[in-house]
């Protein structure tokens, strides 16, 4: 493990439960979901002022099943930080981070839409890419891609 960037040292002290590491050259922090808002406020004030990305990954067989991935950039120090938050598969939810980064608004809606992860406290948690009446969350690994009937002779037997 390479040395932690100096700007993160006070945050690492304040949050002893957070595991820092390096994955393929990227600085990664693994945070418990109850700590995430406080942690992000702390790193934001430490210099990671730009919100870049939030997405979810469904690991299906792992525990916790989902992982929410937050990417941040420090423009002033030219650093990147990736924050990983594990989210349980039963009633998946993590607190919204829009208080720290308002830009997470659309990204949290996307994760809610495609993975069904709730973000309590979000100002407007509705579907964003799919129609409102859509059922299910297609990017979950147990959501099939589906198939459509075709008009060839014998083609629909497998369906």
């Amino acid at each position: 493990m390479t040395a932690l960037p100096a700007v993160l040292a006070p945050t690492a002290e304040a949050f002893p439960g957070v595991e820092f590491g390096t994955v393929l050259g990227d600085t990664v922090a693994r945070v418990q979901s109850e700590d995430v808002v406080g942690f992000l406020l702390s790193v934001r004030d430490a210099g990671f002022e730009m919100f870049v990305d939030l997405c979810a990954v469904d690991y299906l067989t792992r525990d916790p099943r989902f992982e929410v991935v937050i990417n941040l950039v420090s423009v002033s120090y030219s650093l990147r930080l990736r924050v990983l938050v594990g989210v349980s598969g039963t009633e998946p939810a993590m607190p919204t981070i829009t208080a720290a980064y308002p830009g997470a608004d659309f990204y949290e809606r996307e994760a809610f839409d495609l993975f069904g992860i709730g973000f309590p406290g979000h100002p407007d948690l509705t579907r964003i890419l799919l129609p409102d009446e859509w059922e299910g969350h297609p990017l979950r690994k147990d959501a099939g891609v589906g198939s459509i009937p075709v008009q060839f002779k014998g083609a629909n037997k497998a369906l």
């Binding site: 994955v23 870049v52 990305d53 991935v69 830009g103 659309f106 579907r127 890419l129 297609p138 990017l139």
Partner: protein
């Protein structure tokens, strides 16, 4: 015809007698011909049967009617009623079929008179589940999928995906491949900015800009076609290198492109930047502050026009961008005019990079020699059974990528394009998330538009350059 009086034979008296006033009043509908025939005997009040061309029929034109026709009396019944309160908001849906939204973006606008009070961008009309599709395609097929996301900068999408896959594979591409990637992605940036100048100029009334922008972009697309076989959705940059070497006389093509674009840029600046109408429509319009850009993840030319010196090529260099000498234009006003300045200057800087690539491009292979990701050369397949099997396996099963996850960002024409790629050790990605720059930029539209005039919506929206394929994926 036979029952009508014959005008040609001078039988007018008979005609007048036939259409006497008493008779005409009882007729529901008469032709103009009949009325003309009636001459001075026509009734003063023509009544309901003269609903066409009534003005000409009036024997005496009143002053009021004349004034109305000349426009000296204006009756304005379109204004709000005098007793209307301030809280009456009008809701307008702009899009998803509005031509100036450049795709299927829908803006839900609440208007107070002509002032925008609230805006809500509604997206998803172009969502085709490409992130789900990526999980069903091998790493080798992946770039065919991502190239269709931001369809105006396909090379950047391919580059981001390929770099992420190579990071997981721990494969180094040869220097020539890296230089070709830089060349193509910078030419792509020029093409994308030219198209943006064309459509944005058109949206704010500079009609010639539309034609000129498309015209200067054409040689670029021709060069892409010559190199990759396609004008868009190239699938040229692939994990391990690029699909083919540059065409034999590529230096002359690139030199021709540079001459065309430089001449075009000089024209555009003369045409637009000093034009008082253009300045009126762009200065102080659609302003984003530095803080708003940071908070909402706005990147690319929008952020640089707001004073954020952030360019992925400089801050986190990839594909050998650190070898090239170029500058990142930054302005501080954050309005539509500054976005024009930034993008024009970015095209100049891209030309500088392209010139350096032409001068310094090394020889050698255009894709890695790592047999794990590169199929054997065609000639080997004819003489070696193993090579044939290897070729077959690579194109059916794909190559396996070690487990892991990585985030790779590239500077696309619109901002930071990030690829979060997760592999479980198989030949298909476990998860591919694309951080499209337009997604974040569309999210910042309410910041740009709130409390501005409805007439400025088009200019502000166009300056954000959203590509809906990139937003909805």
């Amino acid at each position: 015809m036979s029952d009508r009086p014959d005008i040609a034979t001078g039988d007018l008296d008979a005609a007048v007698e036939e259409t006497s006033p008493t008779e005409s009043a009882s007729t529901d509908r008469r032709t103009v011909h009949d009325l003309w025939l009636s001459g001075t005997e026509a009734p003063r009040e023509l009544g309901p049967f003269t609903d066409e061309g009534a003005q000409e029929m009036l024997a005496e034109e009143s002053d009021a009617i004349l004034a109305g026709q000349r426009g000296t009396i204006i009756e304005d019944d379109y204004g709000p009623p005098a007793d209307s309160g301030d809280d009456e908001l009008q809701i307008i849906n702009m899009g998803p079929q509005h031509p100036a939204t450049h795709g299927v973006l829908r803006l839900h606008i609440e208007l107070d008179g002509e002032t925008i009070r609230r805006v809500k961008p509604i997206i998803g009309y172009l969502h085709t589940g490409m992130e789900k599709t990526a999980e069903a395609l091998t790493f080798m097929q992946g770039s065919t999928n991502v190239t269709r996301m931001d369809y105006l900068s396909p090379f950047h999408n391919e580059l981001g995906f390929s770099l992420a896959a190579e990071k997981l594979l721990e494969v180094e591409v040869p220097p020539r491949a890296a230089a070709i990637r830089v060349l193509m992605s910078e030419l792509n940036r020029i093409a994308s900015h030219l198209l943006w100048s064309a459509t944005t100029g058109f949206d704010i009334g500079a009609l010639s800009m539309m034609i000129y922008g498309w015209r200067e972009r054409e040689p670029l697309l021709e060069f892409f076609e010559k190199t990759t076989g396609l004008r868009m959705n190239h699938n040229y940059i692939r994990p391990g290198g690029v699909a083919a070497d540059l065409p034999p006389d590529w230096q002359e093509d690139v030199a021709g492109i540079i001459t065309t674009v430089e001449a075009g840029l000089a024209d555009f600046e003369t045409l637009l930047l000093g034009n008082p109408i253009f300045i009126e429509r762009t200065k102080g319009i659609g302003v984003l502050t530095r803080e708003e850009c940071l908070a909402y993840g706005v990147t690319g030319p929008l952020a640089r026009a707001s004073g954020i010196d952030y360019d992925v090529r400089k801050v986190f260099p990839y594909s050998g961008f650190e070898q090239y000498d170029f500058e990142v234009p930054v302005t501080s006003n954050g309005d539509v005019y500054d976005r024009f300045l930034v993008r024009f200057e970015e095209m100049r800087q891209s030309i500088r990079i392209v010139q350096q690539v032409v001068e310094t491009i090394p020889g050698g292979d255009y894709r890695t020699e790592d047999r794990k990701v590169t199929p054997p050369p065609r000639a080997r397949i004819d003489e070696s059974m193993e090579a044939l099997i290897h070729h077959f396996k690579i194109f059916t099963e794909g190559f396996k990528v070690p487990p892991g996850e990585t985030y790779q960002a590239v500077e696309s024409s619109r901002g930071e394009l990030g690829m979060y790629l997760v592999s479980d050790g198989g030949s298909k990605p476990w998860r591919l998330h694309v951080r499209g720059p337009s997604f974040a930029n569309v999210q910042a539209l309410p910041m740009m538009l709130t409390d501005s005039l409805i007439a400025d919506t088009i200019a502000a929206l166009a300056s954000a350059d959203p590509v809906m394929g990139d937003v909805d994926r």
